[in-house]
Amino acid sequence: MSEYILEVNNVSKIIYTDKCKKSKGVSDKPQGTSRILDNVSFTLERGKITAIVGKSGSGKSTLLSIVSGIDAPTTGNVKLIGENYYKLSKRKKAEFRNRNIGILFQNYHLIPELTCEENIRMPLCFSSDSNDNPRIDEWMNAVGLYDKKKLFPRQLSGGEQQRTAILRALVNKPQILFADEPTGALDSKTGRQIMEFLVAYTHRSNMTIVLVTHDMEIAGMCDRQIELADGSVVG
């Protein structure tokens, strides 16, 4: 097994503007295109927390989308846990995501039709290994959600929603967790609590976390920082 849990090699992302829609194929000319990421390369070690930082529009979220497998790069490749993710078949990708990846969104993206507990258990439904995680109640208790497990997302506070989203991301015991501004919608105190929980869990379980933030205090709690500017790694 590779010593790196994530290897990003020469990843570029080009977005085509509307003016370019009518042309066929990839235009050689840069007109009508916008290069969001430009030959980004880095590697991440297992069990570490890495923050991707940068100004608005620097490409942080796009990079996270690409490394977490929800958006394809225009060029370059991404190796996740030794697998060239974008070469996998559709079915394998789904299975890989379910087994190895946890994703946290800034706006939580909880499923409004499911209760707090059902949201947390949801990834287990698509797991081929096991249909249960006996520690769910314990975890919910630990983060203060046990009493609210029958409530729907709209009945929860922002912090509770994010904690639900975290437990949902962790329920399949992923090897790597991707978080897009996990504390962006929370106040600083709740944000810090969320981060402390994640750091503690990472150290206990040897999980890797990649998070995007523009909050330097949050970035300071991480083991490593990758700084992006205009789509390129600058630090």
């Binding site: 990839v26 789904a94 379910n98 949902r168």
Partner: protein
């Protein structure tokens, strides 16, 4: 073993999860269940009516013989054909409506589905979701729909047929009919779900979660990653489901309902024409027009904003246009039958038969007086003689085993140049039944075949003319379409004697005579055959006259010993039968109108809710509530207007072709009724818009504009 159990549990858990997604969609699911039930009840009712009629006619044949039942079976056959066609259109429109609602219900779950996908859901799971939907909603609706359908069938049968209205054998068929229903509904629900969900599940995740145009950027990746192929696949997958649905409905309709093959084929051609017509209009004209106006015209009024939104939601607009088109087609046909059946039948009778009044003189000598009276009124006629003859009178033909008599009609002179009564020199036109009995030819299937499938073979007897003869070049050259238009005739050389005369060429006709007042079996040219007309023959005058002239003729011949038979009586009889059937058809049509109303109401309401912020913005910047609503309503009304007008014109043109070439008959639609139908469709949409707008405003809660 454990693995299998685990897998089963996993599937069940997934199904439970999918069903939980519907928690927030109770209203939509109730409406959908109602629609499924209405559709099921309409299908089961029609299936039961048709099955009962078949059993009724078969029973009549076994008891009363073929000739007694022939007329009834022909009439039922025609009405069932119309009922079958209407139910097929209802199916298409109902399915389009159901598809619309499923599409919008599932579309609202798009974000949830994408999150599920992020956590490992794949395409196979979509099938589980569709199966869960089908198993629960499909089976419940089948059960309730069948119960309602059976109740309606019993009620209508009691009213129309009276005592002994339900044949015992139908009870045996009930299980089979329920089975047919049980096949249709779940498959329909699965395919409708797949159509929407396949498109949703394969949509790029970032596009949904981050609202970024990932699709376009991926399309540029042609050849660089494997996602391009998969993107193309998602588009095709979704279309596959739609195509599969159309094919399934067509096959099901053909297999389950009693529809004449030619009528069904013509219906499909008509549907294809309407589809092509609408497609061309929307694609080439409408969209280009809207794009052009949008590009060249600045925004000045709220109407300009509506124009900007036109055709922006392609899938929705296509579905809407389909629902409106199908609904309009159905209403066009139903309203023509309901309000103009006598007019249609009379025109059809005159066009297809060539006459509408038959004057039969009981006294041979009165023929001169009647002729004079008609000449005085300047009414053209075709003169003939009729006689009930024994089969034994036929020379050269082996007498049928059961003997019997037949009606012969001898044409005297064709004074009104009516092409319907032209018989070629040395020719004879015989009814297929007669020809079959006399061994001149044989019908495909038994004579009791109530479907009326008449396929002619020349029986191998004296002339020994085989099928191969017809297929040969020589045979084909000898087959020709008759001048009479409606009769497909065959010119066959045969060494045979009829009425003592030698026939070198004779004609066989498959003209449907069940509507005829004459019911002749042999029609021959008097001058050629010299049969010796005497007092035993009844003089007959065949007159093509209007309803007004009918009364004049009746008055003119009232002094003589004559009987008048007019098409009016027969038309009234058919019209009455149609009106009885209309109640069944009306229930089917009402089902459809309910489906369409629900679809539109739900759709417009949802649109108003989802665009509430946009509407508030218009109001913030000075529009009144109704003006803001009209921006949204305008889209629906324009789509409705274009669809209904296009479809009405298409029905008018293609309907003519359909009846003429599909049914070999002519049933002209009433233009005013069609125009009123098109207008009604638009008003209907407008009312739906207003109702949805009213309810939406009522339930809007806190208003942004507080001084209102």
């Amino acid at each position: 073993m454990d693995g299998k159990r685990m897998s089963k549990n996993s599937v069940l858990t997934k199904i439970t999860l999918f069903l939980k997604l519907y928690r927030g969609k109770k209203a939509e699911n109730i409406i959908l269940l109602l629609l499924y039930t209405l559709l099921s009840s309409a299908i089961s009712m029609v299936l039961l009516v048709q099955e009962n009629n078949s059993v009724l006619i078969a029973d009549g044949i076994s008891k009363g013989g073929f000739s007694e039942t022939e007329k009834m079976s022909m009439l039922y056959d025609s009405t069932e054909n119309i009922l079958g066609i209407i139910v097929v259109i209802t199916l298409f429109a109902g399915v389009a409506g159901v598809m619309c609602l499923i599409h919008f219900r599932n579309h609202e779950l798009m974000k949830s589905m994408v999150i599920l996908r992020t956590y490992g859901m794949n395409e196979k799971d979509i099938l589980y979701k569709a199966l869960a939907d089908a198993l629960i909603y499909g089976i419940i609706s089948c059960f309730f729909g069948y119960v309602i359908g059976y109740g309606l069938f019993k009620g209508f049968s009691r009213d129309i047929l009276g005592a002994g209205y339900i044949m015992g054998a139908v009870s045996g068929y009930s299980v089979l009919i329920f089975g047919k229903l049980l096949v249709f509904m779940p498959v329909l629900i699965i395919l409708c779900n797949l159509y929407t969900d396949l498109a949703i599940v394969n949509r790029p995740i970032v596009e949904v979660l981050y609202e970024r145009n990932a699709e376009i950027s991926r399309r540029r990746l042609n050849g660089r990653t494997d996602d391009e192929g998969k993107l193309a696949k998602y588009i095709i997958d979704s279309r596959y489901a739609a195509i599969a649905l159309c094919v399934f409905i067509m096959l099901y309709a053909f297999a389950a309902f009693h529809i004449d093959g030619a009528a069904f084929k013509a219906l499909m051609i008509m549907a294809a024409f309407i589809f092509a017509f609408s497609y061309i209009l929307f694609k080439l004209f409408f969209r280009l027009f809207v794009d052009r106006v949008r590009n060249n015209k600045a925004l000045h009024t709220l109407r300009d904003i509506t124009r900007c939104f036109m055709c922006a939601r392609k899938r929705r607009d296509i579905l809407l246009a389909c629902v409106i088109s199908m609904g309009t087609v159905l209403i066009c046909i139903v309203s023509n039958i309901r309000f103009n059946i006598s007019g249609i039948l009379r025109s059809a009778y005159q066009d297809n038969m060539g006459y509408s009044i038959l004057v039969r003189c009981d006294d041979y000598e009165d023929r001169v007086n009647v002729r004079e009276a008609l000449k005085e009124m300047k009414i053209g006629y075709t003169s003939a003689y009729s006689k009930l003859m024994d089969y034994s009178d036929l020379a050269g033909i082996e007498e049928p085993d059961d003997g019997g008599k037949f009606w012969a009609l001898v044409i005297d002179e064709g004074t009104d140049d009516n092409t319907h009564f032209r018989v070629p020199e040395h020719g004879v036109v015989v009814e297929s039944y007669f020809a079959g009995r006399c061994g001149l030819m044989e019908q495909g299937g038994s004579y009791g075949d109530i479907q009326g499938n008449q396929k002619y073979n020349v029986q191998a007897n004296n002339g020994q003319i085989s099928d191969e003869y017809f297929n040969s070049e020589q045979g084909n050259n000898r087959q020709k379409k008759s001048e009479q238009g409606q009769s497909e005739q065959m010119n066959i050389e045969q060494d045979i004697k009829l009425f003592g005369g030698h026939i070198s060429s004779w004609q066989l006709s498959d003209t449907d005579q069940y509507l005829s007042l004459v019911n002749y079996n042999v029609m021959i040219n008097y001058n050629d055959w010299k049969l010796g007309i005497d007092e035993e023959w009844s003089p007959i005058f065949l007159i093509d006259a209007s309803k007004l002239q009918e009364k004049m003729i009746a008055d003119a011949v009232s002094d003589y010993d004559c009987h008048i038979e007019s098409a009016s009586g027969l038309i009234d009889e058919i019209s009455q039968l149609m009106k009885d059937y209309m109640r069944i058809i009306a229930v089917t049509a009402a089902t459809l109108i309910l489906v369409i109303s629900s679809v539109f109401y739900t759709l417009i309401r949802k649109d108003l809710i989802s665009r509430r912020t946009e509407l508030y913005m218009y109001r913030v910047f000075g529009a009144t509530g109704s003006q803001a609503d009209m921006v949204v309503f305008g889209e629906y009304i324009i789509i409705a207007l274009v669809s209904s007008v296009v479809v009405t014109v298409a029905v008018l043109i293609i309907g003519e072709l359909y009846f003429y070439y599909g049914l070999h008959k002519h049933f002209p639609f009433s233009v005013p009724i069609l125009l009123i139908t098109a207008g009604t469709a638009m008003i209907f949409i407008f009312v739906c818009c207003k109702a949805a707008g009213f309810i939406s405003r009522k339930g809007a809660g806190v208003q942004v504009i507080r001084d209102e």
